[in-house]
Symmetry: C2
């Protein structure tokens, strides 16, 4: 019997942290380093009078999954680095800009273990810095001189901010449904994953079917990525997460594991109490314990695995090679990651 590549049981994964991003990124390692270099060069731009703010926002290295997706999608057919490097840099920059604003909106103190721009320099500077980063990312995209790609980029930001607004309005609403949750994470997370892949495919001159396959791959990956993020927010450690556990519940955001828990245990009042006692860490902690110790976590993992499987299905459309293999590995990594 073949080993299930998308383990449905979280306990199965504990021992096998075999998938390392560094090895998955092998096919694009040097080029991803160039993206890093491009990002660090931005604070040398004379326009910006506060390079320390920009440095701070850029140095907090995330997993760089989004630019990796652009490079890998672009490598499936005709790898043109002149177009793909600015695009991949722009995709990560757009992501960083949204994080700078998100942290200001949520009043978050920590991101990747470091103080956020808004907690260190105030919401005001975070607003302006985020705007500058948005503009810089759009400027980078314009160097591709590809109108379709520029349009997809603008539309992704429209979708992301519409999703953020929806999340902000839905906060502390205990009646949010699974459908609303999926819609929301498709807007706020999957749209960027999808755009990262589709623009890579377009600039890498994939045929139309390949572009559609990579776009769909990105969407499903983004949904799975966000579900896992939402699980880790409940089951992870502050050290791994680089921010407090239970952050989502503290901000009144109901995520998939919480929604599943609520469906499974309608008599359990701990979720409602956490929402009613807004900002009270003790109530949030009890709710986190309730959900993280329940079978809702396993069920949420199952669902994320299904999305990853659907993501990988799309790859069958593409020509084989190291780029496609890396995209497939990424679909496993996303489930297995612990931070």
């Amino acid at each position: 019997m073949a080993i299930n590549p998308y383990p449905l049981d979280k306990t199965l994964k504990k021992g096998r942290n075999s998938l390392q991003l560094t090895s998955i990124y092998n096919a694009i390692r040097k080029d991803l380093d160039k993206v890093e270099e491009n990002l660090s060069l931005l604070s040398k731009n004379g326009l910006i009078s506060a390079p320390q703010l920009l440095n701070h926002a850029l140095k907090d290295k995330g997993k760089r999954i989004r630019p990796a997706l652009t490079l890998l999608a672009g490598k499936v057919n005709n790898y043109n680095l002149d177009l793909l490097l600015p695009m991949a840099t722009a995709v990560e920059l757009l992501h960083i800009a949204t994080l700078v604003h998100d942290d200001a909106v949520d009043g978050s103190r920590l991101r990747w273990g470091n103080p956020t721009v808004s907690s260190k320099w105030g919401k005001e500077k975070a607003i302006i810095l985020g705007d500058y980063l948005f503009a810089t990312s759009a400027d980078l995209v314009s160097t591709t001189e590809n109108v379709r790609v520029m349009r997809l980029f603008a539309q992704a930001l429209m979708t992301i901010s519409a999703g953020e607004l929806r999340q902000n309005i839905a906060a502390y609403n205990v009646n949010i449904t699974r459908e609303e949750y999926y819609e929301l994470i498709t807007c706020k997370t999957a749209s960027l994953f999808s755009m990262a892949c589709e623009t890579g495919a377009i600039l890498g001159r994939s045929p139309v079917a390949g572009q559609a396959a990579l776009k769909n791959y990105g969407t499903k990956m983004g949904i799975a990525f966000q579900i896992i993020d939402d699980i880790l927010d409940l089951t992870g450690t502050e050290k791994d997460l680089g921010k407090p556990v239970g952050n989502d519940l503290m901000h009144g955001t109901l995520t998939l594991p919480v929604l599943i828990f609520r469906e499974m245990f309608p008599g359990d009042s701990r979720i409602v109490e956490a929402l009613e006692n807004k900002g009270d860490g003790e109530f949030a902690k009890k709710a986190v314990e309730a959900v993280s110790g329940s079978v809702a976590i396993k069920e949420a993992y199952n669902i994320a695995s299904q999305f990853c499987r659907q993501a990988a299905e799309n790859l069958k459309e593409l020509p084989g090679g190291p780029a496609r293999a890396a995209l497939e590995s990424l679909s496993h990594f996303i489930i297995e990651r612990t931070k």
Copy 2:
């Protein structure tokens, strides 16, 4: 002796509020109405879950000078509304987006006599709504399918936000120089005026010399516009301004009339006291009285008039007609306006 079209003395203008925007806009009236219609249609877009926020930001009608500049610049040569209407709408939308964020940064209560988005719904929603408006404006620009125009648009936002950051950092700094003031307003205001004109010229297929002339016209107009804005902030009425008098000083922003006053009366301590007593309305009021009752106002008007004259000089390069005539009238209006 010919009448000086740029009166150097403010008292000269009091009696002749002859220049009305409505008559200046005659050449593009119907098309500017279409821009208005485009703006009001945006809140019908299904993406946005809080149309009342969007409506609120869009209904606060300003003077619509920026989209008028795009249309007029586009009308000088080959008036193509398919390209110019989305461009003009995007220019105004970008302006509105920056105002929504500026008001959140400054904590301003009123804009055009109405509560700001951030005072009505909180800074958080203002951040997200502004992002959505930025993205929507970029999406509109992409419909022109003109890469150069798209690039100028992104660069204008880079320059504006770099200027805002600089202003934020320079706040309450009593040692700011005139040169720094000019640099700052060139970034935060003139760059948008300049882009509004240059993109109009490009989309209206002006020859290269005409594009450069319109770009320079826009820059000088933007500088003059901001100087007058800064004068009116001291000499206007709350009713006309739609916001409190002395707003700039209250936020620690030293503007040209204040800088001139400081140079002329180095022994007068009222400016320094207003900055030292941050947020104390009484000290700010005394400083406003000091500057608004001084010859610094006349001198600032003189300087703004010079910039308007330089702006109008550029128009000589262009073919004559109603569009050029309206651009010239606008250069007078900017000085004469009282709100």
